[in-house]
Point group: C2
Chain length 226, copies 2
Amino acid sequence: MNHDAASTPPLAADKKMDAVDIQRVLLERICLLRYKPDDQLKEALLAAEFGVSRTPVRDALNRISHLGLIESRNGVGTVVMQLSAEQIQHVYEMRLELASLIGRVSPITPGPAHLTALLSLLEDARVLQQSFDPDGYVLINHRLNALIVTMIGNQSLRAMWQQTYFQAASTWYRVAELLGPAVGDTLINELSELIEAVKMGDAEALGYVERVHINYGYTKVKQLFL
Amino acid sequence: MNHDAASTPPLAADKKMDAVDIQRVLLERICLLRYKPDDQLKEALLAAEFGVSRTPVRDALNRISHLGLIESRNGVGTVVMQLSAEQIQHVYEMRLELASLIGRVSPITPGPAHLTALLSLLEDARVLQQSFDPDGYVLINHRLNALIVTMIGNQSLRAMWQQTYFQAASTWYRVAELLGPAVGDTLINELSELIEAVKMGDAEALGYVERVHINYGYTKVKQLFL
DNA sequence: GACAGAACAGCTGCATACAGCTTAACTCCA
DNA sequence: TGGAGTTAAGCTGTATGCAGCTGTTCTGTC
């Protein structure tokens, strides 16, 4: 009764996933680097794993192809793309700008539900620090992103935010692998500052907090990869 | 020999279009309002028209579904969505912001090729004014948009610009129908100002020119529809 | 005549079979 | 043994048939 959504995020053991479910799982796996750049996502294998035919798998791949994270080549396979240094730079540059817009274009005043969710995330982030692992970290980041999305009033901006999040997520996973618990501390700081902003119902502050932390992340990415 | 691309933009008479071609044609038809909101895009009919099976048509529809311009409902059909007043507002708000970013994030210095293309567009726009029709107007706008895209250095911003263009295009077509040659005059002004910016190699000016004219368009849309 | 119910037509979602392309391995010859 | 040509395996792209869902229409009853 209480497992209507997101209760089986990575697993597919249950019964008959449709194209939409597969789309979600594939994106999550790319963000969690379970599929690494140059990996081949063979439609037949995925179909077998999910217990469906190639058709819904193809539909899912087609629907996420616009993100540039995968590319299908006839006769070869569907490969996971490694975003070039330039592309990563562009995505982070845009996320910096988009963050500033959260509080400026059709802003939403965050409410108590948002606060509750943030407090829950903060709790989980603290638990995570007791035995840090990148997967758990990125999953919390996932939930945080999903929450921030609900605080973006402009639907167009919301879509762009999601898009760039997916594009940057796997890069950020690699940072978490390399830096370890340090990024967890930063996440706790980010959550604390977000909580303050939400307590005041200040969407603009929220955007600036995000901007600051994206800038921090961008700095780390530049140091480590670019 | 000289008909390698865009020579048959709307037509499908030739031979064997693949999913990518179909995707382009469908988007164009939506932008030109050949498909109006609540219209049903039946896969079987489109397949017959393009001389292929339903499969590549489905692939094309899936690949553009993220724009929110169409929505497939099981048992019903794939319907063209009417963007709500709020959605239109959001898209225009974002285009205003994105325009300002053209000259700020990874800008490109426009060169002589851009200038040549703009002059050609200006010429065509002037010809159009001798007997204005919305279709011709939107097609020139299409070419202008394609050109501006090549002046956007940040790939992520480029994708967002394209996305919002497709989402706003059909709305703009309706404005052209209602206002007639007046929008053509505005287009000529826009092109003239863009030419000045490009002559100076000033990407920032280019972005501001776009911002101003998007704002003009937004004003008209608000007056007429919102 | 009006309304409830059932049968029907039509569409998308999915499954399966086939064709075309690409890569890699394998063979044959020098 | 090295290399060019050929063959074979495997993947995506496409075609086609079937199942499930939805809106409509037709029928039977009150």
